[in-house]
Amino acid sequence: MNMSRIVRTVADISFPFILIYGFYIVVHGHLTPGGGFQGGAVIATGIVLLVAAHGHEAVARQITGNLLKNAETFGLLLFIITALIAILLGQGFFTNWLANTGMLFGTPVAFGPGPGDLNTAGVIPIMNIAVGIEVLGALSIILYYMLSGAQEAR
């Protein structure tokens, strides 16, 4: 299943822009509309575009199913470990232990309206990134299994 050269070229050109837009939505999850789920869905849509243009086998050679499974597991582990570290520090489960500490994502929020600072909000950006990685892997692996089932049926 190969599309024409026009479709393949347009998919190759627009794939990096879709990828960058998805990562933008994930990373800016605590400032603008969107978040981990929406950004991961946008990135998975980019992978769907590649699969539709080049065929399943050509894409699965570069982005293997094992890689996507590992991405899903890594996202879930990052999410739950970030929540569990708060217990080790003597606070409650899911406590925002990074906010206002001056470390990563720890800048105190300036008072009043403003454009928003990316380096704020504590563990919320980390959990957004974890959910983004997890949704990207999960939605793509659903599509891969749909494709393998469709090939068996033929």
Binding site: P33, Q38, L143, A150
Partner: protein
């Protein structure tokens, strides 16, 4: 005023595309009409000031669901069987 006009156009497009999904015998055409329906629905969410839901609807509804429908249609055949 412009919001009322945009609202009317989008809702009319939603009703028309939903009727097309039901009426089409060609399943690929019905899947594409479903993608148009999802896109108009995400525009409607954006006008109703829910940009979060609009991004999710555009990504899942117009992108992934249409692709999964088209994969399934290519496996089972393109034409709907008419039962009399």
């Amino acid at each position: 005023m412009i919001e009322v006009i945009a609202h009317t156009c989008i809702i009319a497009g939603l009703i028309i595309s939903a009727a097309m999904i039901v009426r089409f015998r060609d399943l690929i055409s019905a899947a594409i009409a479903f993608g148009v329906f999802s896109f108009l629905l995400s525009l409607e969410f954006y006008i109703l000031q829910a940009p979060d839901v609009a991004i999710a609807e555009a990504g899942i509804g117009a992108g992934l669901t249409t692709a999964i429908f088209i994969i399934a249609i290519r496996a089972v055949g393109r034409d709907e069987e008419v039962e009399e």
